[in-house]
């Protein structure tokens, strides 16, 4: 259902207008002559796949990045924006994907950051102002709460409050629902409709078609840095999808029936418990089994313990209690070398940190098993190169063995990781956010590889924020919420609504 806000005016100059904005990062043309405008009192969605240039464009508007060409106009007048300070002065506010909040500080301190004139800072005064702003905009936030301890949804509210308290007329939200559960999304949309009714303009960056139609008046679609077109928010989804990717996609899907539980369990996690150094539980008594040739998908909003679970399985973190067994080898608390030796392959969510970017592709590919490539006391460079070339061919990596990994595109980095892991024929794969940030081609490649492994009998644990991906690939789905597994079901029984409720902590399965 499209959102038609009353007070949506077409008269007068647009609240925000971009003309011919261009931005380059080295060889990459992130934005290519983009023309874009937002009217007063409008919710304007900026739609595109990952890497289409949406965030880059808005970072330019907010002064976090400088354009190579183009002009920005606010209320019809050209403005020069060189820093967030300039943007704020021009009435632009932005809520970024990774919130710009200083975590150890309180809500009141964050609200007041950069705003208090003069030298003195009165804590009581700051608190009062925070409460005042909170009431004025109808967004609840406790002034003395330490931001780092708030839930993600609450943090986002503080971010929005921060922007509003600066009298912004144009509010930019970058993928705001990526970290929210369905009922929080509904609350956010309600807030936006309320704000827009008062004349605020909203730019809403997203890659989710459903949201576009639920909330926006108009949609601008970006593809590979170019503006494809601006259409009404009521435009049907297939057409929007076509504008986004240039062709209809159905994606890679699991073929055949989901495997019923019955295969032999290869990976057994038993009452795993992970805590912070202060004792706060991050993973609570998680018990889970994955059988050979089975994909178990772990769904859940980021921040509910999935990252820590994967860290323990990868050997990068020690659990407080519990056991992780592969076959009859106990792996909980063991280091990566032992985990790998037991036949576990790991595709982590932070690709760049898990490789050594400054070393070559070849060295990275063999880094886990250097001792296999010795000649006497030295490295056998010839064999390393040969191995690298073989893996590059087998996994279609677009790079030469001597290239530094840091220069590779996201998709190729993921392929290097895949090659490194899969070349060892692991029994178990622990995979986290495998297609995040990848283009369509790379995404399909990765998913096909995972399904091929499944067919070959590997036990796969797949953690992903992308529910569509979970549903497309998994045999079984579990949901994590606040560190616990709150639901488990076979893939055919899983649907978005049920999963959404579980992810939000409601409708717990017995």
């Amino acid at each position: 259902m499209a959102g038609q806000a009353p007070g949506h005016e077409v008269n007068g100059p647009p609240a925000l207008e971009l003309r011919g904005v261009t931005k380059r990062f080295g060889d990459l043309l992130a934005n290519d002559g983009v023309d874009f405008d937002v009217r007063r009192g409008e919710v304007h969605a900026l739609l595109g796949e990952n890497g289409a240039g949406k965030t880059t464009l808005m970072r330019i508007v907010y002064g976090l990045s400088g354009p190579d060409a183009g002009e920005i106009r606010v209320a019809g007048r050209p403005v020069a924006i060189h820093s967030p300070r300039d943007a704020i002065a021009a009435g632009i506010g932005m809520v970024t994907q990774h919130f710009a909040l200083v975590r150890p500080m309180t809500v009141a301190e964050n609200l007041v950051l950069g705003r208090v004139p003069g030298l003195r800072l009165h804590p009581a005064e700051a608190r009062r102002r925070a409460l005042e702003a909170s009431e004025r905009f109808g967004i609840g936030a406790a002034p003395d709460a330490v931001v780092g301890r708030l839930s993600v949804g609450q943090q986002q509210r503080v971010e929005i409050l921060k922007a509003l308290a600066r009298d912004c007329r144009i509010l930019i939200l970058d993928e705001p629902t990526a970290v929210l559960v369905p009922h929080e999304v509904a609350a956010l949309f309600e807030t936006l409709r309320h704000l827009v009714a008062e004349g605020l303009s909203v730019v809403f960056i997203t890659h989710k078609l459903g949201e576009v139609r639920a909330i926006s008046d108009r949609v601008s679609v970006l593809r590979r840095g170019r503006l494809v077109g601006t259409v009404a928010g009521t435009t049907p989804e297939p057409e929007l999808a076509r504008m986004m990717v240039g062709r209809p996609t159905f994606g890679v899907m699991r073929e055949g029936a989901a495997r019923a539980r019955g295969g032999e369990s290869v990976l057994r996690i038993d009452r795993l418990r992970v805590e912070t150094s202060a004792g706060r539980p991050l993973v609570r008594d998680v018990t889970l089994e994955v059988g050979a040739g089975e994909i178990v998908g772990v769904a859940g909003v980021s921040g509910n313990g999935q990252t820590e679970l994967v860290e323990v399985l990868s050997g990068m973190r020690r659990p407080a209690a519990g056991s992780v067994r592969v076959g009859d080898v106990e792996l909980a608390g063991r280091r990566p070398a032992a985990v790998m030796a037991a036949g576990v392959g790991r595709i982590p969510e932070d690709r760049h940190a898990s490789l050594v970017g400054e070393l070559s592709v070849a060295y990275n590919l063999v880094l886990e098993r250097l001792d296999d490539f010795r000649r006497g006391g030295a490295l056998d460079e010839g064999r390393i190169r040969a191995e690298a070339e073989a893996l590059i061919a087998r996994f279609s990596i677009r790079a030469r063995p001597g290239d530094r990994v840091a220069t590779l595109s996201g998709g190729n980095v993921q392929k290097v990781l895949l090659a490194r892991v899969l070349s060892r024929e692991p029994r178990v794969l622990v995979v986290s956010q495998p297609t995040r940030g990848l283009d369509v081609g790379a995404t399909e490649y990765v998913r096909r590889e995972l399904l091929a492994r499944r067919a070959a009998g590997t036990a796969i644990l797949l953690v992903s924020e992308d529910l569509d991906e979970i549903l497309a690939l998994s045999d079984r789905v579990v949901v994590m919420y606040e560190g616990e597994i709150v639901g488990e079901m076979a893939a055919p029984e899983a649907d978005l609504e049920r999963l959404g409720l579980l992810m939000a902590g409601r409708g717990r399965a017995a």
Partner: protein
């Protein structure tokens, strides 16, 4: 990119090092003028005149010897991501060990004594590096502070020995008795102070180069320095690697101390090290953390040191100007390296910290493997 294109690009390491030297001299022209001398004449004295006579040219190598050791030691540690600022103290402890063995070694053949002294220097230096290393690996306590603090303690230890049990009974001065003749490092050439220590230093630098560039342990060390998380993920025991790097670094610095005692001073003295450990940091950075670079930088700074004292005599400029130039050179080098990384970085590279083309491209064309960016945070 072809070798010649790399060298000629405005930001290649040789160009950068040259630029740093030029800018440094421009900046230090001021103090020279204040001291009442002509900057051009001063720089001539500094850089060129040491090379004009056989004796002084060899003195350049003598001056380069101790900082070859410390430069190599610091470079190895920094490459692993271990910020060993304690090379000064490690060198002094190596000197103590050498002086001790050297005094007691009468009656043993030189072929036994010299290796013994080297081993003693290495063990002492490594031993002094042990505690900060363990604190870092086991308890994650910043090694910068602990290695730094042990420097004044090492100096106090030396002074304590020299005022106490090792005070020379013959002269009564706070310097140790002379080591026995067999413990002395033989001179390499007559009418020159150049001693075997210089060759030992070169051998160590060569060994270090080989180990870092060609062995699995060396690759693991480099990986740890470039990306500790990535190295750990790949199964590398980061703690053990850091510990190893720290101990090797301390050992090399310790052998440097032994070299000064057995090759130049023939005894332990309070003024043995005018900051060799800190100069080693300058050498390591100027050399781009590469071994060939360390050699070039050490010789350059040795040239500066000899030149500074001759400039002092010839032009009346205090020889401390050498330290001013050193400090300025380090700052300018570090600044230019940062500027280069900023200019050339692409976003993915900026995240990884950019890269340095080593002077290796010039000196030893084999080592075109990736070098870590000495500018990358920590």
């Amino acid at each position: 990119m072809s070798l010649s294109r790399r060298l000629l690009s405005p930001w290649s390491t040789p160009v950068l090092a040259t630029g740093a030297i030029v800018i440094t001299f421009a900046l230090t022209a001021g103090p020279i003028l204040v001291a009442g001398a002509n900057p051009v004449a001063a720089y001539f004295e500094f850089l060129v005149s040491p090379l004009t006579s056989r004796f002084t040219a060899l003195e350049v190598l003598v001056a380069a010897t101790p900082i070859l050791f410390t430069g190599c030691a610091v470079a190895v540690a920094f490459k692993a991501g271990y910020w060993n600022i304690g090379a000064e103290g490690q060198l002094l402890l190596g000197a103590v060990a050498a002086a001790g063995i050297g005094q007691a070694a009468g009656g043993l053949p030189q072929l036994v004594v010299l290796p013994l002294m080297i081993a003693g220097g290495a063990l002492a230096g490594a031993g002094w590096a042990l505690v900060p290393a363990v604190l870092r690996v086991r308890f994650e306590i910043d090694e910068v502070v602990t290695t730094l603090l042990l420097n004044p303690v090492a100096l106090l230890f030396v002074t304590g020995l020299l005022h106490g049990p090792w005070r020379d009974p013959v002269s009564g001065f706070p310097e140790s008795p002379r080591i026995v003749a067999v413990a002395e490092l033989p001179q390499l050439l007559d009418r020159s102070r150049l001693h075997l220590g210089f060759l030992v230093a070169l051998a160590l630098v060569g060994l270090a180069w080989y180990a870092l560039a060609r062995t699995p342990a060396g690759l693991r060390l480099r990986a740890t320095g470039l990306s500790p998380h990535g190295a750990r993920f790949a199964g590398i025991d980061v703690g053990r690697t850091l510990l190893g790097a720290a101990l090797v670094s301390g050992a090399i610095a310790g052998i440097g101390g032994m070299s000064e005692v057995a090759g130049i001073q023939y005894r332990l003295t309070g003024g043995l090290s005018p900051g060799f450990g800190y100069t080693g940091i300058v050498v390591a950075m100027l050399g781009g953390l590469s071994m060939p670079g360390v050699i070039l930088a050490a010789v350059f700074l040795g040239d500066l040191t000899v030149g500074a004292s001759s400039a002092g005599r010839a032009l009346g400029i205090p020889s401390q100007l050498g330290a001013v130039v050193q400090g300025t050179l380090l700052l300018v080098t570090v600044g230019l390296l940062a500027l280069r990384r900023y200019r050339l970085a692409r976003p993915a590279e900026a995240a990884a910290g950019g890269a340095t083309d080593a002077l290796a491209a010039v000196a030893l064309a084999g080592d075109v493997a990736d070098e870590p960016d000495p500018e990358a945070g920590s």
